[in-house]
Amino acid sequence: MSVLLDVQGVSKSFRGLRAVGNVSFEVEEGAIVALIGPNGAGKTTIFNMVAGALRPDDGEILFAGKPIGGLRPDQVCALGIGRTFQIVKPFAGLSVLDNVIVGALRCCARVDEARAFASTIVDKLGLGSKRAFPVSSLTLPDRKKLEVARALATRPKLLLLDEVMAGLRSLECDQLIAFLQEINQRDGVTILLIEHVMRAVMALAHKVIVLHHGEMIAQGSPAQVILDPAVLECYLGEETLL
């Protein structure tokens, strides 16, 4: 498998506070990779650098072999990276469907095409019955799903998911896991996700990368990583992660 996203020695500090230090990892095309670690480990900072919201202080980020570090978010999106926000950022005054249409317009030349495409995505995520609702009437789990729908509507090659399982009930969580597996296997969307819900990580990830204090302390298959002593140490010395 070829490497789709190649993060090479990336660092980022905020006013002297080192959020991410010299982190390197690869995401293979077609893979699902999870980024885990305690709060403040630098996961979202890495996401923001990949998505163009932050410029790395140091290091290189390659997407399909092309350097993308320092590009604007819209340029990164145009190359085929879609993202969700940990703190959801819906277009609150617009309907559910209109939110997704905005994303779909990246690929669709016409508004009615975008509407049709957005409609299928909204249905798949189980928001079909709420398509005409204003976003302000949605619950938080639905808003999380809307984030996924909107990002997916841009037809990304790589989807960045920032804690989309948080707050979902276990049934909803399983549905979303199944959905993500489907778009990964059927549509070939590569996924990089930040997740605290270990059930989702274990079910989805082909590879897990563990960050702690801005540094990578372990990577490997989910089964390997949860037995890694350094990983157990950083999670407050718990015996097991599950």
Partner: protein
Amino acid sequence: MNRRVIFVFAALGGVLLCLPSIANNYVLSVATLFLFFAYTGQAWNIMTGFAGQLSLGHSLYLGIGGYASAALYFHFGIGPWAGLWLSIVLCGLVGSVVGALAFRYGISGVYFTLLTIAFAEFTRIGFDHWDWLGGSGGLFLKVTRRDQIDLLNLRGTPAMFYYVILALAATALALSAWLLRSRAGYYWQAIRENEEAAQALGINTFRWKMLAVVTSAAMTSLAGVFSAFYYNNLFPEQIFSINRSIETILGPIIGGIGTLIGPILGAALLTLLADGVTELVAALGWEVAGVKQLIYGVILFAVVTLLPHGVWPVLARKLKVSR
């Protein structure tokens, strides 16, 4: 939209079309003023209502648009139908300078609004000292006979001016409706609601915000041209004043910012209100200086407090039509 609502709208359109043949000159002048504010309100609404960039300096585009066409006519005898292109281009350019400065250097929110005020203010001061355009003493266009129509030079009867501004307001409505349903409309609203999320969806927010400002500025310039040829005079103190900017935005605020019908409804309500208050004060014999403005202000305050999203969203819900 149900049939009754379509009927009401069609009837209103019909009344507007026939108005010059049924109304006297006073009513016609009030209606012209209403349509003028309906037009400028819609132009402003594109930038602020759709794209969320609050401008309090739209008098800038009224003034530059008006002065450009008026100067061509005054100095070179070039009619407004040729001159308006200069107005459009100049206002588009000025708008793009304001936009580029703000959006390139991340000036947003109230600071963007301050920038729009600042541009209008220093342009006013500049025009005060520009003798070629009459300076603070004003620029006066030749008044010709009011009973003959010279459409080519936009000289003529009140009815002619009425139809010109009616056509402008109707065109602005059609343009706004089309824009709102197009890619631009979706992108502008996305930027208005959450710029960061919009950018993450691949929208070049700089470019689309610029388009909103330039479109709005170019549209407003035509209102300036109309104003210059309708009133036959231009004073920097008046046309560039912040009062003009505020008059421009009152209609959309009362009617409903970001909606299609809001700016038109707001302009109608405000025009009726202003005249209604004048009549009321005269009828009650309260001819004290400032009392008109006081009543007007209290009513505006009440509307804004009770209907913070404007009149149209509430009315639309009652009529069961989309906003």
